[in-house]
Each structure stands twice: as structure tokens, then as C-alpha cells.
């Protein structure tokens, strides 16, 4: 049997993944609820003074969204690994890195994008100033795809394990440090009325680099853990 073109394979994969998410659309709400609860914990722990909260708001929202993304990473390959379709992907004649890039893109669209949409609301909960809110959204738009790509490489390494949650956090979080520094750094600079473009440009550069390299690394890691 002659295999179809690579683009049609990618399109089929994207359609399938989107359908799977749509069939279980209740689950897609979980990261949002998680981020909301984490953000709500901070005023409870630190006291409700708006001045205090405003100072830490951008960082807290950033960390909450980062952690929500970390917890959502597990679902990237879990279902496909359990029903065997991940192995079929690896065996397919199309470039694995491209197929994985499609999977990561769908995962980002369904888990990270809703988080970015509610980020201004989360900022509002902590009295984040209006102009900083848009810098936060911009930083998240650049940072979350980067987090998804980096995370995918680590998830690919732990894909066959039973209880990989804590280990995954240990692998992923050190890699997230620079992203957090630049993303939250841009917000803090904006809050202090300093120029905030440089860290955003750094994030953009890292994103371009990761877009090219991370799917390749993810494919290599997946081949190791499925071998």
C-alpha cells in the first residue's frame, strides 16, 4: 500500500487529536481550574493587601500557568502510548519529528491557549496593573509554546513509565528556569516602567530555535524510550 503525502498525514493527525480533545472537553478545563486555584491560594497565604499582591502578581500568574502546563504535559503521549498508536507513529514512513510537532501544536492549542486567555483575569485577581497585563499576555504567548516544546522532549523520555509525575517535574523544571526568568522578567520590567522589549526578543529567539530543534530532539528521545 502506498503511503499518503506527509501533509495529509499531518492533517489527519491534527484532526484526530482535536477530535479526541473535543470528545473529552470537560478534561480540557482542568488546567484552567488548577491555575485559578493556585493563584487564589496566594492572597490567602499572603494577606489581601492590594499593594503586596500587585508586586508579585505577574510572577505568580506566570508560575501558576507554568505548573498547570507541567501537569498537563503528561497527557501529551499517555493515551497514544497506552493504545499503541504512538508506536504506529514511530513506524510510519513520514518524518517523526514533523508528526510530533503537530501533536505538540495541538497540545499547546488545547492546554496552553485557554490559560493565556484567562491570564488577564488571573492578573486582575491579584490587582495587576492594566498595561502590565498585556505584556504578561505577550510574554505568555511566546513562553508557553517554548514550555510545551521543552516539556515534550522530557515527556518523550519518560513515556513508558508508570509513575512518572514527580520525575517529570524534576526533569522539566530545570529546563524551564530561563523561560521563567525572561518571561517574568519582561513583566517585572514593565511594572517598573523599564524597557521590556529585550527579554521578549530573547524569548522569541529561543522559541524559533526550539521550534526547529525540539521536535527533532523529541523524536530522538521517543525512539530511545520505545526501543
Amino acid at each position: 500500500m502506498k503511503p499518503g503525502s506527509t501533509s495529509s498525514a499531518c492533517a489527519a493527525l491534527i484532526r484526530r487529536d482535536l477530535t479526541l480533545v473535543w470528545r473529552r472537553r470537560g478534561d480540557a478545563l482542568n488546567p484552567i481550574l488548577f491555575a485559578l486555584i493556585v493563584v487564589a491560594l496566594f492572597p490567602l497565604a499572603l494577606g489581601p493587601e492590594p499593594e503586596n499582591l500587585r508586586r508579585i502578581a505577574a510572577g505568580v500568574v506566570f508560575v501558576a500557568i507554568l505548573l498547570a502546563g507541567l501537569l498537563a504535559l503528561d497527557t501529551l503521549f499517555r493515551g497514544d502510548y497506552e493504545d499503541g498508536s504512538l508506536e504506529q507513529l514511530v513506524l510510519s514512513p513520514h518524518p517523526l519529528s514533523l508528526l510530533l510537532a503537530c501533536k505538540i501544536a495541538v497540545h499547546w492549542l488545547t492546554t496552553a491557549l485557554p490559560l493565556i486567555v484567562i491570564a488577564p483575569l488571573l492578573g486582575e485577581l491579584l490587582h495587576l496593573a492594566e498595561p502590565v497585563r498585556w505584556v504578561l499576555v505577550l510574554a505568555l504567548l511566546l513562553a508557553t509554546p517554548l514550555l510545551s516544546l521543552l516539556g515534550a522532549v522530557c515527556v518523550a523520555l519518560t513515556v513508558g513509565m508508570h509513575r512518572s509525575g514527580m520525575l517529570l517535574a524534576l526533569l522539566v523544571l530545570p529546563l524551564y528556569v530561563p523561560v521563567l526568568i525572561f518571561g517574568a522578567g519582561a513583566c517585572n520590567a514593565a511594572q517598573a516602567a523599564l524597557p521590556y522589549l529585550a527579554p521578549l526578543l530573547w524569548l522569541g529567539a529561543a522559541l524559533v530555535l526550539a521550534l526547529v530543534l525540539a521536535p527533532l530532539a523529541c523524536a530522538a528521545a521517543l525512539r530511545i524510550s520505545l526501543s
Binding site: V177, I181, A221, S225
Partner: protein, 254 residues
Amino acid sequence: MNALTLWFHKIGSPPTFYRIAGWLGPWCFGLGLLFGLVGLYGGLVLAPADYQQGDAFRIIFIHVPCAWMGLFAYFFMAANAFVALVWRIKLSEILAVASAPVGAAFTFITLVTGSLWGKPMWGTWWTWDARLTSELVLLFIYLGIIGLYNAIEDRRQAARAAGFLALVGVVNIPIVHFSVNWWNTLHQGSTVRLMGPSKIDAAMLWPLLLMALATHLWFFGSLLARARVGLLELDGGKDWVRTIALADGARNHE
């Protein structure tokens, strides 16, 4: 096959490496201990006190060599991981995995001595400075590699996965370093340079370099001992391990 590749293949074969490592390991430990004692004597007794920090600076003779070793062990591990992933050499897998705990230990010592040094000098055990933070992240990356290796059942697959993570970390470590530098910095710059004159007195420099040599030797001794155990575990069913085990058993019965 020319002489060099033949030699390379011989060294890389587990029984030969096991024998050579068994012979080299004690030498590394012994010389490392000797140089370490001389270096410590030079650093703690002979070297003059610092004009600004007094005697407190003397912890540099442990702190700085360990910091160098933490990075050296990482690059040694990553180089071996690269060889293991590209050419599938079993020995490189073992060497890469064996250097992770040693490097993690050196990094941990660096953090502890640095914090002991920071208390009298900066007035605090810990500060979120660039170098401290990147060293902490380095320790976490080490722990992640060790954790990943221990979490996978199959030893060779585990070594390949851990090695791959080590290579990902190689890309990440400079990024972490520069990002935290950009973020916040308090730690002093480097005093010892490979190129150009060092900003340290000769009486303080020679014990430092001797300590660096000693930690390198200790690293290799520890690495060889770990690699030997790793080889025995991996090749448990092979003939050469059986011969060694039988010889050991016979010696114990005498």
C-alpha cells in the same frame, strides 16, 4: 585496522577495561589523596591570609576546585553520552552514567562550602545570585539524570535516555548561566584564568591548582570504581564475569 583503532577497541572491551580500571583506580585515589593533603597544607597553613577576607578565604581551596569539577564532570558525562548515543559503545554509556553521581556530589560540596563562605562574607547563607542559582540548577539537572536512569528497568535503555537528557542539559546550562547572570549577580568574577595573568598571588595559586589536580584524580578514581561495578552488573551473564566471580569465590574458600 591500524594500531590506534585496535588499541581503542581493546580499551573499550569490558574485560580489558575492567582490568585496567582495577589497576588504575587505586593509583588515582592514592595520588589524589596525597596531592589533596599537600594542597590543603599549602592552602590552610602556608598561604598568607587574605588582606580583606582574613582566614575565611581559605575555603576557596575546596570551593573552587569542586566547582570546576562539577562542570568538568558534566562535560565528561555529556561527551561520553554523545559517543554512547552515536556509536553505541557500551563502555561510554557506563562512564556517562557513572560520572553523574560524582559530579552531583562535587556540585553539592560547592553549594555547601559556598554557603559556609557566604555567611561571614555576605552575611547570609544563601542569596539568589546568578552563580548560586545556576549551580543549583546544575545540581537539579544532575539529580534528574540520576533519577531518570534509576527509573527505567532496562539498563542500556536507561543509560541512553539519561545520556540524552545530559545532552539536552549541555544546551541548557550555558542558557541558564547567562539568563541568571542577566537576572541578578553578586558573586565575584573569576580570579584564575587560563589565558593571561591570574588575579591571585602565586602563594595562593599553587595550592589551588594542586587541589584541582587532586579533585580530578579523585573524580577519575571514583569514576573507574563505579564503572567497574557497572560493567559487572551489565555483563553479569558473560564468561569473563563468571571467571572473575569463580576466582573470587575460590580465594574466599581458601
